[in-house]
């Protein structure tokens, strides 16, 4: 049989709660004479050291203590700084908590966003919009081309003042004319494509004369332009564009130019 240790006996004497062991110890003390004797001896010893009863203090004891103490106590000032300090700390705490909350929300949002499958929506422009853009560009190109052709038609073959601006404009129009020709082929508009092809040839000659535009060249180009009726074609094509914009059709009525 395992006897209780002195520490366990002291624990029992002071009624310390130890759960299961408490019940086991009590059972052991009830059955083990040796431990019961040791426990009784311990209780006798503890009883001998009885709680000391302090000398009685009268009802005015507290008052006397206070009277002797009061003179040495400094008055607490209703310190605004204390309130401010407390308030400041509280405010800072709230601000820090809010900042932390926002940071957490931001981080969580980022994480959530990264876990979502990337769906890149690249919407192509609707056909109507695309067509509208093409028509605007074409209209602008035909407008500029018409002005150039008018200048060329009325150019004084003997004067070279207008030569240089015409050449620069022709160079500028060449690139745009190629774009318009490609579009005309794509949309299957033979009248437009033919007119732009004639225009391309004329613009090329205007822009790329190696020795510059001389009187003979200007006269020749004027003749070609008149022979082809290029200026007229350009005007007709230009006049068709507003109709196409409103009707939404990109098809000409086929060879009506």
């Amino acid at each position: 049989m395992k006897h209780l240790t002195e520490e366990e006996l002291i624990g029992e004497a002071f009624g310390e709660r130890r759960g299961k062991s408490e019940a086991a110890n009590e059972q052991h003390l009830a059955t083990c004479a040796e431990c019961a004797q040791a426990y009784a001896a311990l209780q006798n010893d503890l009883a001998e050291v009885a709680p000391v009863e302090p000398p009685a203090r009268d009802a005015n004891y507290g008052e006397r203590v206070w009277q002797s103490l009061a003179p040495s106590l400094a008055v607490y000032r209703a310190d605004k700084r204390r309130w401010l300090r407390t308030g400041l700390w509280k405010g800072l705490s709230y601000a820090a908590a809010c900042a932390l909350l926002v940071a957490c929300a931001f981080y969580a949002g980022r994480q959530w966003e990264q876990r979502q499958p990337h769906i890149t929506v690249v919407k192509s422009a609707p056909p109507e919009v695309k067509q509208h853009v093409v028509l605007v560009v074409l209209s602008d190109h035909l407008d500029r081309s018409e002005r150039l052709l008018v200048e060329l038609k009325h150019a004084d073959a003997g004067s070279t003042e207008m030569v240089s601006p015409m050449r620069d404009e022709a160079r500028s129009l060449l690139a745009a004319n190629r774009e318009c020709r490609q579009n005309a082929k794509q949309i299957d508009d033979p009248a437009l494509a033919t007119a732009l092809e004639h225009l391309d040839r004329l613009l090329g000659e205007l822009a790329n004369q190696p020795e510059g535009l001389n009187t003979a060249t200007i006269l020749r180009l004027q003749d070609e332009m008149n022979a082809d009726g290029l200026l007229f074609k350009v005007r007709v094509l230009r006049s068709r564009i507003p109709d196409q914009q409103t009707t939404g059709t990109n098809r000409s009525k086929g060879g009506t130019i």
């Binding site: 002071f14 010893d45 001998e48 000391v52 000398p55 203590v65 103490l69 040495s72 008055v75 607490y76």
Partner: protein, 193 residues
């Protein structure tokens, strides 16, 4: 350990707001319990009264650090236990120092401090509890305080640990050592008497 009245909190707020007199209510309310524990630890009426005053003085000065969620009675009780412990520690140190200085000039020998009274004195004194007091003097200040709190003030191990600023297990060991020493001392004294 103590019941906390609403009045304690109100009084503390008033004191911190500049009303010094409000502390008087706290002193009057808790003086008796502080005197009781101080007397049981120091074993001396004058020392106990000093401890009560010192505890309230310390409490007043630390009142700003008192947390409103706590029980003022428990808080000031712990301060009083600390003050009493400091008191008996310094008393022991002073006594030992005084006896150590009482040297025999011829033998140049130091008389060892014997704080326990002899059996003869016990028989002559006739004081009730003299045997107990003698046995209690064999304990260290911490053991004595822990034993008083456990055996006489009926504090739990956790409360003793909190009052002494030590872990509950250390408090339990202090009580255990105190009981062992007391029993040994009592047995010795009984034989001598």
């Amino acid at each position: 350990m103590h019941c906390m009245g609403k009045n304690d909190h109100e009084a503390i707020r008033a004191v911190l707001g500049g009303d010094k007199e409000a502390f008087g209510a706290l002193v009057m309310r808790h003086s008796h319990s502080l005197f009781r524990v101080a007397f049981r630890i120091t074993g001396n009426e004058a020392d106990a009264e000093d401890v009560v005053q010192e505890a309230f003085l310390r409490g007043y000065r630390k009142l700003e650090s008192f947390e409103s969620r706590s029980d003022f009675g428990t808080w000031i009780y712990r301060i009083a236990v600390h003050c009493a412990l400091d008191r008996i520690k310094s008393s022991r140190a002073n006594e030992a120092s005084r006896l150590a200085e009482e040297t025999d000039p011829e033998l140049d020998d130091v008389q060892v401090a014997d704080l326990a009274a002899g059996p003869d004195r016990l028989l002559l004194s006739g004081e009730i509890g003299a045997l107990q007091q003698t046995a209690m003097q064999s304990l260290t200040p911490t053991e004595r305080t822990a034993f008083v709190l456990r055996h006489m003030e009926d504090c739990s191990t956790e409360e003793i640990g909190a009052a002494l600023g030590i872990a509950p297990n250390a408090a339990k060991q202090a009580v255990f050592r105190a009981v062992q020493k007391l029993r040994f001392r009592l047995a010795t004294l009984r034989v001598k008497v």
